[in-house]
């Protein structure tokens, strides 16, 4: 019983940090979302949906599509790293795929802006190679640019988790399938991915949450409407000082990520049960 006090004292610094730097600001933001000029109400949410519902759908579509593509690309890379039979190709891929991890989102936005623009590097190469004429060149600096940026930046992160999980899968389970005549594609889909499904889910949920909170990429690549919610939040605060609507938009983003987190938790509970 006397041990309780020292234990509490030990926990206190960490608890204080969490309370004041995390719980309190979150509570203030949530409360702020319901604050209007006439007291508490849903006015901010009504305004948010009226002005930004297309942006909400745009955001969810972009982040959802990016998540799916990240999943597919990282399965392909992780699968090749685990099942590839050319040691040199595997070594090169292992060395290459992590690079984007070390590049900040803002730099990714900047790089892709010069790469994907109408007269950017990509179109210049395609024109130079005679594949398209200058008139056919189109800018990718819209939703496609954001998806490309997200996939390029987040795939290494998910692949890192996935390749680690794949490497720790019992090689025997792969060889047993090969022994019975399974092709490498079948081994990847039917043997390897199901065994690392939970790690894949964790990686994708974390990526989803990260992408929901990125401001620099939509600002750099796609400044027109529709745009992503993060850009809208920044705009409400910087242009109007309108914290109410900004907080409401933030809460809506939080609800979207919470849905994904809930889906993940339910899945992992079911696996355990």
């Amino acid at each position: 019983m006397q041990r309780r006090l020292p234990a509490l004292l030990l926990v206190l610094p960490a608890l204080t940090v969490i309370l004041f730097l995390f719980v309190l600001p979150l509570a203030l933001s949530v409360a702020g979302a319901f604050e209007t000029e006439t007291g508490f109400g849903l006015d901010n949410f009504v305004k948010s949906f009226a002005l930004y519902s297309s942006d909400m759908i745009f955001t969810l579509m972009i982040v959802g599509l990016s998540t799916c593509m990240i999943g597919l690309v990282s399965i392909a890379i992780g699968g090749y790293l685990t099942l590839g039979e050319n040691p040199r190709a595997v070594a090169i891929l292992r060395w290459l795929y992590r690079w984007p991890l070390f590049i900040p989102f803002i730099v990714v936005g900047q790089v892709l802006r010069t790469f994907l623009a109408k007269n950017g590097l990509m179109n210049n190469i395609l024109v130079g190679a005679g594949l398209i004429t200058p008139l056919q060149a189109i800018s990718f600096l819209d939703w496609r640019g954001i998806v490309i940026a997200f996939v390029w930046k987040q795939t290494p992160f998910v692949t890192l988790l996935l390749a680690g999980a794949m490497a720790s899968v019992d090689r025997g389970t792969i060889e047993a399938a090969r022994n019975l005549g399974a092709s490498r594609a079948r081994i990847l889909v039917e043997i390897l991915v199901p065994q690392v499904a939970r790690t894949l889910m964790v990686g994708l949920v974390l990526s989803f949450v990260t992408m929901m909170s990125v401001l620099s990429v939509p600002l750099m690549i796609n400044a027109q409407s529709p745009t992503m919610l993060t850009a809208d939040i920044a705009f409400r605060i910087n242009a109007y000082g309108d914290y109410g609507v900004a907080n409401a938009l933030g809460l809506i983003s939080l609800a979207a990520t919470a849905c994904v987190a809930w889906f993940y938790l339910r899945q992992s509970m079911r696996d355990r049960g």
Binding site: D170, G172, T173, E175, A176, A177, R178, N179, L180, G181, A182, R186, I191, P194, Q195, A197
Partner: protein, 390 residues
Amino acid sequence: MMHQGFLDIAGLSAGYGATQVLGGLDLSIGEGEFVALLGASGCGKTTLLRAIAGFATPSAGRISVAGQDVTHRPPDKRGMALVFQSYALWPHMSVARNIGYGLKLRGRSKAEIARRVGELEELLGLTGLGDRKPAALSGGQRQRVALGRALAVDPRILLLDEPLSNLDARIRLKVRHDISALQKRLGITAVHVTHDREEAMVMADRIVILDRGRIAQQGTPQALYNRPETSFVAAFMGAENRIELSAGIEGDTVAILAGPHNAPARLPRDGRPLSSGPLEARFRAEAARLLPAAEGEDVATSDVTDEALDLAGRVETASYPGGAWRHSVRIGDETLLVDAPEPFAQGAAVRIRIPAPALFLFDRPGEVPGPNEGSTGNGPRGRALEALKT
């Protein structure tokens, strides 16, 4: 040997990177035969099995099945199925899906797969477990699922990579018999890798003992047990007691010279390739008898014994592992283990009598007594040789 050579291995060399594990190995296995590859870890037995299965690429040599060269065929095109040491069951699939996967890959209909899986579940005593995941099975059940998965595709050759090493000792004894009974019933050819001598002897028709990537000896369990050709094989087959002797070969007789701890003896040569000079003798603890000896008795001057070799020593400890008392007896600098029905007191002078058929004799090459015998730095050996010269 009378093997028809169903699975033939000729001049097989294999290894990992620069390390060569197998060097020019020849082995012929008959159809329906159960062969155990026995050896200590690192002897190349698993590499040999993986080369046969197609998971290790040989650097030289040829593997053929029923006269067809399969050396460079992929693992699934050899008519073989491998049972892994870890079982390697797919944790996300039910028992039925694990067993039926090979058939699914072969494009069989769902009804046919279900029928075959049902047959195998019944054969292996897994009925009613079809919907369970491997994690919900006992070790023995998992092992049978792994066996069922391999048998489902009707392989001509079943390869077993230490399939019993992860089982409890009690279950292992039963599963040994289950597997060999099943193999006999199905008439399938089986190659079984193990480091457990008893397991190999109980299960196999023929045992192949591997030592550093080469076949040390092969034959029936009885032949290997009773007539080991080398000291290594004798030790592996349980003859752990080792003594050094000196003998002269006189026709069909091996005349053991009296030594500091052994009496002279005349034993039948029994066709063994021995030459006069230093010999190495090996025997099993249970094959020797322990007799009381008079204090101060000198074995070297005792009468020549026929059909048995006598050693003189002193009991160090006695323990009871079951069946008989096991004595640790000190002979000079060596300690030998000998069984006796009744315990001898600690410190008692005893004679160890080893009957001729239980005494395995081998030449000690490179240990010819000569002027530089002390240079090996081997204390007891050097002293034994000195004593012989006197």
